[in-house]
Symmetry: C2
Subunit: 108 residues, 2 copies
């Protein structure tokens, strides 16, 4: 998968995933990897900064949770403003796809 195409789609992906419920970083990476059959491996260096940025803008919030074995996970959950932002992002995404499709031609 072309790295350049991916740019900009990360927030959309993250917010969409978090709509299904709170998740922690490692879990997000594994989920994406599994659901795409390994085609797309979200890198840690892309994920964590993206999550922190989404949290800084209060589209998502985080809380630490200690597992039974004593280890900690940081869960992220989507906020109301994040839902609104996601809605706008989705619209933008669809416009973008339609635009490119118009030039490239429809999927065969």
């Amino acid at each position: 998968m072309d790295r350049e195409l991916l740019k900009g789609s990360t927030p959309l992906l993250l917010l969409s995933l978090l709509c299904e419920g709170p998740m922690y970083g490692y879990q997000i990476i594994e989920t994406v990897r599994q659901r795409t059959d390994g085609t797309y491996t979200l890198k840690e260096g892309a994920l964590y900064p993206a999550l922190h940025k989404l949290e800084a803008t209060e589209f998502i919030s985080s809380y630490w949770e200690t597992q039974e074995n004593g280890r900690e996970r940081r869960y992220y959950s989507i906020q109301p403003s994040g839902l609104a932002f996601l809605k706008a992002k989705k619209k933008e995404w669809n416009q973008f796809v339609d635009m490119v499709q118009a030039f490239v031609g429809p999927k065969v």
Copy 2:
């Protein structure tokens, strides 16, 4: 339109356009602007470097043409290797869209 989403789609767009026939830079910008009703304005700072890069890799070639009024235009046309590259890019594009769609959910 989010600038970040656009990243990586420029070569795909350019090669697709040049499939219709040779075009010059200014014409490409105007064509994109008109066909998208102004939604997407391809910037010169993005276009020319992209064209030059595609030419450096010999996916496209260029020639100068003098108009009747004496002014010059630089036309770009797609090369056989560019067609092959476009084909691969298209496939990649479709995979990318399907992938994101799988997370975001189908268009409503």
